[in-house]
Assembly symmetry: C2
Homo-oligomer: 156 residues x 2
Amino acid sequence: MSNGKSDDRALYYLDDLQAGQHFTTGSHALDAEQIKAFAAQFDPQPFHLDEEAAKDSLFGGLAASGWHTMGITMKLLVESGARLAGGIIGAGGEVTWPRPTRPGDVLTVESHVVEVTPSKSRPDRGMVLMRNETKNQKGETVQVMTAKLIVPRRPQ
Amino acid sequence: MSNGKSDDRALYYLDDLQAGQHFTTGSHALDAEQIKAFAAQFDPQPFHLDEEAAKDSLFGGLAASGWHTMGITMKLLVESGARLAGGIIGAGGEVTWPRPTRPGDVLTVESHVVEVTPSKSRPDRGMVLMRNETKNQKGETVQVMTAKLIVPRRPQ
């Protein structure tokens, strides 16, 4: 299981995954305090720290660090997304932020399996390309993250 | 300036940037407590939370969440990397983690300007492709993040 707690979700090995499968997470409500606390630690720029300073920035108002949106996305995936055998382990990925994440946003992640590729050199595992779209409460996409995940094959 | 404090670094507008320019940040020392605190909030998986559980994982021991390595990278870039006019604002990017980040690692970021592209539709800005390599104290690369940054042109 992915977080050490009891977990009712189905467990997916590489063999259980195929292109087109779809998963949806629970939600996370974001507020200005969380935005500022993350920014103070990991992205201390005025438009993530201070409402007044943010008005004069490209964002036109307080916005979450993109990496904060990513952290929340990861938490949602771990706690309520596809439960992968071995956990969610990424070799890498791509991200875009089509619009800012704002105080008051309620985020949910929709995931799609894009591609499943068994490893040629390592018969016990493979690579899964997963597209994770993070949406706000209006259904607007705030982040698209496509991850290359390492997933074990079902033991024989 | 990027963080609201007085700052001795040169300020770079789009016009001041060109392919091949190189920047190096200060360093950040990582320990097991930081790794677990980040994981508890944003990536609650056993191999980021617990030394014993991590032994049986693909990582073979406690490892930082890749998004924690990213957060530290971002902090280093904001505080001691290239000081960009308008701040470090990313439209998106790509990331890989060639090896895990471990407790005791001391991280530094080396950045290279890959490409500078003035916007055709917005004459006041452009896009900078920046490759950011995060290295540990042995000089081993733990993360490569190539970001598309929005950078303003120098006002006339």
